[in-house]
Amino acid sequence: MLSDFAVETLDLCRSFKLKKAKKENNDGLVTALDNVSLTIRKGELFGLLGPNGAGKTTLIKILSTLLLPTSGKALVDGIDVVRHPEKVRKRINMVTGGETSGYGILTVRETLWMFSQFYGIPTRIVRERIDHMLKLLDMEKFARTKIGKLSSGMRQKMNIIRGFICDPEILFLDEPTLGLDVQISRDVRKYIKRWVKENTKKTVLLTTHYMAEADELCDRLAIIDQGKVLICDSPSNLKKSLKRDAVFHIEVGLLTDGLDRFKAVSGVKSFAYEHRHHLGRTLLKFILEDDSVISNVTGTLSQNGSKIITLSKVEPTLEDVFVSLVGKGLEQ
C-alpha cells in the first residue's frame, strides 16, 4: 500500500483548445477543470455530482491516464498519473455509462474473458469470477449470448462486470446507470455498494446525474460546476447545511415563460423548476431565507395569474443543496 488516499488532486487544471469555428472567447480555450483539489480515502464510495460539461469525465480521464492535466498534480494510490501511468494502470479500471465496448461477435463470456486477459488473470480464476458475477447480477442465461444482441441494460451490466473482474483497487464509474431502467439501475447500485462494503480498502469514484443515486450510494460527494469544486462532504452533512433555510415546493399549471423573475423575488436564495409535462404542471422549488418569505413568492404568483395546485415545505434534499450552490437544477 503506497498511500492512505486512493485519489489526491492538487490544483488540477485542464483546458481544451476550441476548434476555430467555435472561438467565441478571445483565448479560444475552454476550461474543463479549474484548480480542483480533492482527496478520496481508501474504502470510500465517492461521488462527483455536476451538470453537463462540469468536468466530471475530464477528471476521470486524467485519473485513468487517458488525458494529461494542463497543470496541477493528480495521484492515484500515491502514484503520479503523469509520471508513472503504467503503475497507475495496474490499480484501476473504468466503466462508462452507455459504453459500447467489445466486439459484437463475441459472447458475454468471451468478452469478459478477453478484457480480463489484459490484466493477466489466469483463465481458471476468470471463469469462476464470471460465473459468480453473472449470478449476482442475474445474467447467467446471457453468458453465451453474443454481445451485439444484448439489450442496452444487459450490456451495461456486462460492462459493470468487466470493470470489477480484474479486481481493481480503484474503480472509476462514469455515470454507470445512465439510461438504465429502475430495476437494472437498482441491481447495479446494489452490486457497487456490496463490492465496496466487502472490500474495505477498495475505492469507487462515481459520477452521476441522479441525485437519489448519489444520496443512496456515496459516503462523500463533491459538487462541481464549470470545472470548480463547490463543496465536498457527506450527503447528510450537505443536507444539514440547508436545515436552517426554508425549502418550499410549489406546483402550478404548466408555466414556461418568465421563470427567471422568481430569482429576483426578495428573500429567495435560490430557485429551480421542473416541468411535468405528463401532468401539465410545473414544479417550482424555492430555497428561502426563512418561512415568512413565502408570502412574497405566492404574491408574485398571483400577480401573474398562476394558480397554486400544491404548496409544501420539504426536508432539504441533495437536489436542493445542488440548486443552492449551482443556481439551477440538474435538469434545467
Binding site: L68, R89, N93, S101, F115, G120
Partner: protein, 272 residues
C-alpha cells in the same frame, strides 16, 4: 517484470482470439471472401489465356488473388482498426490496461494473419485446382522465408498505419480506402511487377507485398526467375529491412500519437 511479460502474451492471445475464433463464426465469409476473389482472379486468367500469355501467368494471377486477402485484412482490419476501436470505445480500455499498446497491435496482427490465411489458403487451393496450375518450386526454404518476411513487413505496415491514424477521425478512413485499388496495380497482384519499369517498381517495393509476390513467383514457378524484378536474395534483404523498419516505426508512432492524443484530448474524443 516477468509477470508483465506474461500479461502481455496473454493480451496478444486474447486480442488475436477475436479474429481467429469469432471471425470465422459466420459462414457467409466463404462466399464473400473466397468465391468473389476467385471470380476476379478467373477474369485475369481468361484474359491472359486469350492473349496467349506464357503458362506461368495463370499461376502468377492465382497467387496474387490469394495474397489479396492479406492486403484487405491489413487495410481494413489493421490500418483503420484503431480508429474504429476508438469509435466503439475499446481504445480507452486498451489504453488504461497495464499492457504495452504494441501487444494489442500484435494481437490484432497475428489474429489477422490467421484470419487472412484461411481465406488466402482457400483461394489458392481452389484456384490451383480449377486452373490446374503447374508449380515448379526451386527452393522451399527461401519460398517460406520470403512469405514470412513479407507478412511480418506487411502487418508491420498495418501497425504503423494504425498508430498514425489513431487520433484522427474519418480522414483516416478515407485515406485507407484510397490505398486499396492503387496497390493492386502497383504491387503487381495480377502481373509481374517488372512490367512497371524499374523506378515505379522500386517505389512500389515500399509496400511489402510487391517484393513478397515477386519473390514468391520467382521461387515457385519454373520460369519465374526470368520474369522476376530483383535478385531474390536482394529482395529477401529488403523485406527483412522493411520488417524491422515498420515494427520500430510503429512502436514510436504509437508512443508519439498517444502522447499527442493525451495532450490535445483527441485520444478519447469520439464521433468527430
Amino acid at each position: 517484470m516477468k509477470t508483465d511479460f506474461k500479461t502481455n502474451i496473454k493480451a496478444i492471445i486474447a486480442r488475436a482470439y477475436v479474429r481467429v475464433v469469432a471471425g470465422n463464426r459466420e459462414p457467409s465469409w466463404v462466399i464473400s471472401e473466397t468465391v468473389l476473389p476467385l471470380i476476379s482472379t478467373a477474369a485475369f486468367v481468361y484474359v491472359y489465356k486469350a492473349l496467349n500469355a506464357p503458362e506461368e501467368f495463370t499461376g502468377f494471377v492465382v497467387l496474387g488473388g490469394a495474397m489479396s486477402a492479406y492486403w484487405m485484412t491489413v487495410l481494413w482490419s489493421m490500418a483503420a482498426q484503431f480508429y474504429w476501436e476508438k469509435e466503439i470505445g475499446n481504445l480507452d480500455l486498451y489504453m488504461i490496461a497495464p499492457i504495452s499498446r504494441m501487444s494489442i497491435l500484435l494481437g490484432m496482427a497475428s489474429g489477422g494473419f490467421v484470419y487472412a490465411s484461411v481465406r488466402a489458403g482457400s483461394v489458392f487451393l481452389l484456384g490451383s485446382l480449377i486452373f490446374k496450375i503447374d508449380f515448379g518450386v526451386i527452393d522451399f526454404g527461401r519460398l517460406f522465408l520470403i512469405f514470412i518476411l513479407c507478412q511480418f513487413a506487411l502487418f508491420g505496415l498495418g501497425m504503423l498505419f494504425s498508430s498514425l491514424f489513431m487520433i484522427y477521425g474519418r480522414e483516416a478512413w478515407h485515406g485507407v480506402s484510397l490505398f486499396q485499388e492503387p496497390v493492386y496495380l502497383l504491387s503487381g497482384f495480377y502481373f509481374p511487377v517488372k512490367s512497371l519499369g524499374f523506378t515505379l517498381a522500386l517505389t512500389a517495393s515500399l509496400i511489402p507485398l510487391t517484393l513478397g509476390l515477386d519473390g514468391m513467383r520467382q521461387l515457385a514457378f519454373k520460369k519465374g526467375v526470368e520474369m522476376g524484378f530483383l535478385n531474390i536474395n536482394l529482395e529477401i534483404g529488403i523485406l527483412a529491412f522493411l520488417c524491422v523498419f515498420f515494427m520500430v516505426a510503429s512502436h514510436y508512432a504509437l508512443q508519439f500519437m498517444e502522447n499527442l492524443g493525451k495532450k490535445t484530448g483527441r485520444l478519447t474524443l469520439r464521433w468527430q
